[in-house]
Structure formats: structure tokens, C-alpha cells
């Protein structure tokens, strides 16, 4: 009987949260589902294994860059230069590995990540020391790093494009886990999450705290398993016409690792807690003894590192690096992805998973519209409308809320 009362009060609190506007990912996931249904109706190729794999891979860059931005959006800041930062990372990796330098891929990747992390730290240093709005400093970065990128790429003398031949970097996007390894990976992930959910429930229950009812946890596990199964089936189905290609692209586990690390930091560590606090009320954090500038610098640095990983995925997918990379647009679309996913531009609200959902939506629109045969111009307008719709729904939902973010 007590369990039922507890569950009822938990449920009431959940519903209250929904009413207060904190509906979580539900409205956005419904939106994504609606898009998927629409595109599938218009062109049944949409839900084919090859297109869906393509879609997941296309979304990886946006997801990663968006996760990079979320570090800053949580603080109420922004980094407009992350796109070109990732481009510089990509060019460092490709140039070191495939031109006259012939570095081992592992070292090239490490140096590329070191460079992007340092650029992120530089942005943070300027914002904190000069006490200028991050918008301005990173806008200057956007322009400046674009110049650096064009200079570095053109200096290779290959006509503004450096092709990627190194197998390892190329395989990040284009190579796959074996179908068996795909199963193992997905099952391992599901098992890990289920076990940790059950264990934390058990710890809470034994401490006498109000816990999520067992059936809710079970439902979550079942949904996770269902999603995992769908993902495995998509990737393990043969998606090539002339040869056989199966298995999960390496990019997916890479993105999931970044997602896991980022979420762990934000949810389970002090640093993450302080980032939320600074975004919510930086003066309160300061008075509580938090070294605000240290965590701001940390966020800029982590954003740079994440942008570096995004850059590697980018050059892997492109098969090289070009001086014409439209990184200004890409970074804005990544910010849009974070916001569509539910992250607030004003700080204090957001999660790494928002980048995943938002990135999928941002990638679905051009993918689906391309299948229907719509021009690029229409795709841009459609993305704009989706962004407006997502933010409006979110804002209207929160208007009834007592949380004023």
C-alpha cells in the first residue's frame, strides 16, 4: 500500500514537472517521430538500412559540435568559433598524416586534439581576462580561425583541398564494427545502463528515500532494449548494392563515448554541478565559494576538445579537408541542435542528450528533403521553421512554469 502511495506521489511530482514545463525530451521526440513518419510517407527509401545509417553518420558531426556548445550554453555563454576550431583540428590531422609529414595516425590525432583544446582554452582565457562577452570574442575567433584554416590548407599546395588516405582516420566514419561486435556493443551498453539504474534504485530504496517505482525502471529498460534492438537491426542489415556492408560505423561508439563522458561530468561530478550553478546564478555560486572563472575556462577547454573530435569525424566523412568548409553555418546549426533538443541559451538548463536528439533532427531535415527532391533553399527554410517551432513550443510550455529560465 505504501509503495502505491509513494508511486502516486512520485507520479504526481512528475506530472507537476510536466505542467511546470519540464516535459523533458518527450515533445522533441514526438517531433522527431513526426518528421520520420512524414518523410517515410513521401519516400519509402527513408527508412531503409542504407539511408538510416547514412542519417546517423551525417548527424554525428552536429551531435559532437552541439555537445561542445552545450558546455558553454549551460554557462549562458556561446562559442561561435567551434566550427572553424574543428576545421583546424581536421586539417592538422589530415596534413600530418597524409602529406609530406607522414606522421603515425595516432600522434596526428593527438596533436590535432591538443590544438583544438588549446584554441578552446585561448577563447576562454580571452573571455575571462578581457571580460568581454563570449559572443564577441568567439565571433572574432570565427573570423580569425577561418583565416588560419584557409592559410594552412592552401599552403599545402593541393588546390585548397587535402585528401585523406590514412585508413584509420578514414575508417572512423566509413569503417564498421563487425555485426557480431555490433551486437556485443549494444548489449553491453543496455546491460550497463540497466544495471546502474537498478543498483541506484536499490541504494535509494535501502536508504529510505523516495525512489522511482520498479515498473517505471523496468519500462525504461524495455524501451532502451527496444531502441538498441532497432539500432542493431538497422546497422546489421546489408546496406550496399554491389558488395556486402554490415555493422555499426565506428563513429557511433565514438559519439557515445563522448556522450557518456560529458554526461558523467555534468551529472555526477562537482565540476558539472558548478557549471549548472554558474549558469543559473553565477553570483550565488561565487558566494558559495565556487571559483567561477576556473569552471568557465574548463568549459571553453572541453568545448575545444569536443570540437576536435567533431573535426576528425568531419574529415573522415568528407574524405579530406577543404578550405571552403562552411563552418560558420555548421556551428550555428549545432547551436540550433542544442536548443531544439532543449538546452537553454541563457544558461542553467541542458543535458548532453539534447545534442543527440537535436543533432538527429538537424540531420534528418536535409536527409529527408533530399530524398523527396527538395532544393537546398527549401531545406534551409524548413530547418529554420523547425527551429522556431521547437523553441516556441518550449517557450509556451515554460510560460506556465514557475522556473523562469
Amino acid at each position: 500500500m505504501e509503495e502505491v502511495v509513494e508511486a502516486a506521489s512520485k507520479l504526481r511530482l512528475q506530472l507537476k514537472r510536466v505542467y511546470q514545463g519540464d516535459a523533458g525530451l518527450v515533445p522533441i521526440l514526438i517531433g522527431l517521430a513526426a518528421l520520420v513518419v512524414y518523410f517515410q510517407i513521401r519516400n519509402s527509401v527513408f527508412l531503409s538500412a542504407s539511408n538510416l545509417t547514412n542519417l546517423f553518420v551525417q548527424s554525428c558531426y552536429f551531435i559532437l559540435l552541439s555537445m561542445g556548445e552545450i558546455w558553454l550554453l549551460l554557462l549562458g555563454e556561446i562559442d561561435l568559433s567551434l566550427g572553424f576550431n574543428s576545421g583546424i583540428g581536421a586539417s592538422v590531422a589530415v596534413i600530418l598524416v597524409d602529406t609530406k609529414y607522414h606522421w603515425p595516425w595516432f600522434l596526428a590525432v593527438l596533436l590535432a586534439l591538443a590544438v583544438t583544446t588549446a584554441i578552446g582554452a585561448l577563447n576562454g582565457f580571452l573571455v575571462i581576462r578581457l571580460r568581454l562577452p563570449s559572443f564577441i570574442v568567439t565571433l572574432a575567433g570565427l573570423l580569425g580561425y577561418q583565416g588560419v584554416l584557409i592559410y594552412v590548407v592552401d599552403k599545402q599546395g593541393t588546390g585548397g583541398v587535402v585528401p585523406l588516405q590514412n585508413k584509420y582516420i578514414y575508417d572512423m566514419v566509413n569503417g564498421n564494427l563487425t555485426p557480431f561486435a555490433t551486437w556485443v556493443f549494444v548489449i553491453a551498453v543496455i546491460a550497463f545502463f540497466s544495471v546502474s539504474m537498478l543498483r541506484s534504485d536499490r541504494r535509494r530504496r535501502s536508504s529510505g528515500l523516495v525512489t522511482r517505482p520498479a515498473w517505471v525502471t523496468l519500462a525504461k529498460i524495455i524501451m532502451l532494449a527496444g531502441a538498441g534492438l532497432a539500432v542493431v537491426l538497422i546497422f546489421n542489415t546489408d546496406r550496399a548494392t554491389f558488395t556486402v556492408i554490415r555493422g555499426m560505423p565506428f563513429a557511433i561508439p565514438i559519439v557515445m563515448a563522448v556522450l557518456a563522458a560529458g554526461s558523467l561530468i555534468l551529472i555526477k561530478t562537482r565540476a558539472g554541478r558548478y557549471i549548472y550553478a554558474i549558469g543559473g546564478n553565477s553570483e550565488a555560486a561565487r558566494r558559495a565559494g565556487v571559483n567561477v572563472n576556473r569552471y568557465r575556462l574548463m568549459a571553453f577547454t572541453l568545448a575545444g576538445l569536443t570540437a576536435g573530435i567533431a573535426g576528425l569525424i568531419y574529415c573522415s566523412r568528407l574524405g579530406g579537408i577543404s578550405d571552403g568548409i562552411d563552418a560558420g553555418n555548421l556551428v550555428l546549426e549545432s547551436v540550433a541542435a542544442a536548443v531544439i533538443g532543449g538546452t537553454s541559451l541563457f544558461g542553467g538548463r541542458g543535458k548532453m542528450i539534447h545534442a543527440v536528439v537535436g543533432g538527429l533532427i538537424i540531420a534528418t531535415i536535409p536527409n529527408g528533403m533530399g530524398l523527396i527532391g527538395m532544393s537546398a533553399s527549401t531545406q534551409y527554410i524548413a530547418t529554420a521553421l523547425v527551429l522556431l517551432a521547437a523553441v516556441t513550443i518550449d517557450s509556451v510550455a515554460r510560460r506556465g512554469s514557475t522556473v523562469t529560465l
Binding site: L13, Q20, R203, R204, S207, G208, L209, V210, L264, K268, T269, R270, R273, Y276, A277, G279, G280, N281, E283, A284, A285, R286, R287, A288, G289, V290, G348, R349, T402, V403, T404, L405
Partner: protein
């Protein structure tokens, strides 16, 4: 009722000044938890605090009253490490201390509840209570420990109106937010809790909640320093009053030596006909 200022005893006064110590503070700072002597603060040409002496004993509620702009918040911020005094000494349990940062104040055992409460609306009650001093287990936050301790603290303070300690602070009422801010101070095993206008924005029942909380704290042996301009609240909860006027503390003493009239006179003019203002008449 006349109060003569305490006799000056330059042998024990900290800086050996000869002129009589104003404002009725004890000449020897050793017997109180917190004593300020000669605290001044200027911001460029603006003299915000002039030579303030204040005693705050443990286990009692000291009310710091004064009109707007008298310097009450500035004095508080000097104690809690937000500002550094331009001159003067701070004594903690009789020993001189230097409070340069909020952390220094927290390390001493001083907790401040600011007028704007300094809470993060986007975090829940547990997260706010532990902000800056989270408990961890193997390097990761120990949510269960923090949640249990938060529930216990709120229960000890008889704060029963809060439904769940996992509610976002932004969704609480004014009185509940104040209670959370106070509970945060209590959980840190603070010896001195400073509250800046705790009832300013609250309704009747919420005010009652906060005043009872203040009384509970003092009854536990904690020194409470409350800034308030609501004399009704002051007279219902305070054990001592200190009055500020134009940046100086013009009078302080046990509450029995004041009534509403004399308090208002001291606040608005810096002196009172019914109480000899010790600045002017040291020899009376």
C-alpha cells in the same frame, strides 16, 4: 530609561585609543563570539562605514537596524568577506582574524543569507544546500548522503511545508526559499548566521516561519545577526539591538533598553531623547 555608556578602559581597548569608546560596545572584545572594533570602509570618496564597533554574542539574536543607506549591508559584507574593511579589526572568540574572501568567512563558521538569497533557481534544494561543499563517494557526487542530510536538516528546523527536497528552488515560495537559505547556513555547523532583511518580501505566515527559525537557531547556541527595518519583527525576536546611522553604529545594547520610540529616533536622527547617545555624552 537612561543607559550610560560602559566606562572606558583604555588598558584593555584594542588600539589603545584614549577617547571614550562610542556606541556602547564592551571595551574587551574577548567575551563575545564576534566583535568589530573601528571598522571603516570607503569606496573612493564615499565613506560607507565610519569607525564601527559591534558585539555579536553566541546564542542570541542581534538585530542590526537603521534606515536605508545607513551602511547595514556594507557592514555585513565586511564580516562575510565580500568586502575588505579599509581599517579596523575583527575579533572572533577574542582573537583577531582577517576575513578576505567568502571562503575565509565560511572557514571561521560564518554563514550569510543575503537579501537576494543567493540561491540557484535551476538547481533543486539538495543541490543548493550543498553548493560549494558537495559530498562525494569515489570521486563522484554522493547524492544519497546529501539528500538524507538535507531532509534531516529541514526536519530538525521544522520546515514541513516543502514536499520534496528534489524540487527546484525556483518553484518554492518566498518563505520556503528563505528557509532553504537558512537551513544551508545551519548545515554548515555555522557559529554565526547573518541574515540580510529575511522577512522583507514575505507575507504574514511566511514571516512567522522565518522568525521561528531564527529563534530556533539562537536557542541552539548559534549567534544570529539579523538586518531588518521591520521593528515589529525586531522586537518580537531580537535579544540585542545595534542601531546604525549614516555609516556609524550609534547605539547597541540588550533589547530591554529600547522601545519603539527610542529605536525610531535613533534610526532617523542618530540620537534619542530617552536614551543618552553615547557618542555625545560620554561623561554622563
Amino acid at each position: 530609561m537612561e543607559i550610560a555608556p560602559e566606562p572606558n578602559s583604555s588598558a584593555t581597548s584594542a588600539d589603545g585609543r584614549d577617547e571614550p569608546r562610542g556606541s556602547g560596545a564592551d571595551p574587551s572584545p574577548t567575551q563575545h563570539l564576534l566583535s568589530l572594533r573601528g571598522i571603516s570602509k570607503n569606496f573612493g570618496p564615499v565613506q560607507a562605514l565610519q569607525d564601527c564597533d559591534l558585539d555579536v554574542p553566541a546564542g542570541q539574536v542581534t538585530a542590526l537596524i537603521g534606515d536605508n543607506g545607513a551602511g547595514k549591508s556594507t557592514l555585513i559584507k565586511c564580516i562575510s568577506g565580500i568586502y575588505a574593511p579599509s581599517s579596523g579589526q575583527i575579533y572572533w572568540n577574542g582573537k583577531e582574524v582577517h576575513v578576505h574572501t567568502p571562503r575565509d568567512a565560511a572557514d571561521l563558521g560564518i554563514a550569510t543569507v543575503y537579501q537576494d538569497l543567493a540561491l540557484c533557481d535551476n538547481l533543486d534544494i539538495v543541490e543548493n544546500m550543498y553548493l560549494g561543499r558537495e559530498e562525494s563517494r569515489y570521486g563522484l557526487l554522493d547524492e544519497i548522503k546529501m539528500e538524507l542530510a538535507t531532509k534531516k536538516t529541514l526536519a530538525d528546523l521544522s520546515v514541513t511545508t516543502v514536499q520534496s527536497v528534489r524540487q527546484l528552488v525556483g518553484s518554492l515560495s518566498g518563505g520556503q526559499r528563505q528557509a532553504v537559505a537558512v537551513a544551508r547556513a545551519v548545515m554548515r555547523e555555522s557559529q554565526l548566521v547573518i541574515m540580510d532583511e529575511p522577512t522583507a518580501a514575505l507575507g504574514v505566515s511566511q514571516t512567522k516561519l522565518v522568525l521561528e527559525l531564527i529563534r530556533t537557531l539562537a536557542d541552539r547556541g548559534i549567534a544570529v545577526l539579523v538586518i531588518s527595518h521591520n521593528l515589529m519583527d525586531v522586537f518580537s525576536v531580537a535579544d540585542r539591538i545595534a542601531v546604525m546611522y549614516l555609516g556609524a553604529i550609534v547605539h547597541q545594547g540588550p533589547i530591554a533598553s529600547y522601545d519603539t520610540t527610542s529605536a525610531v529616533e535613533l534610526i532617523t536622527t542618530g540620537e534619542s531623547k530617552s536614551i543618552a547617545s553615547s557618542r555625545l555624552s560620554a561623561s554622563l
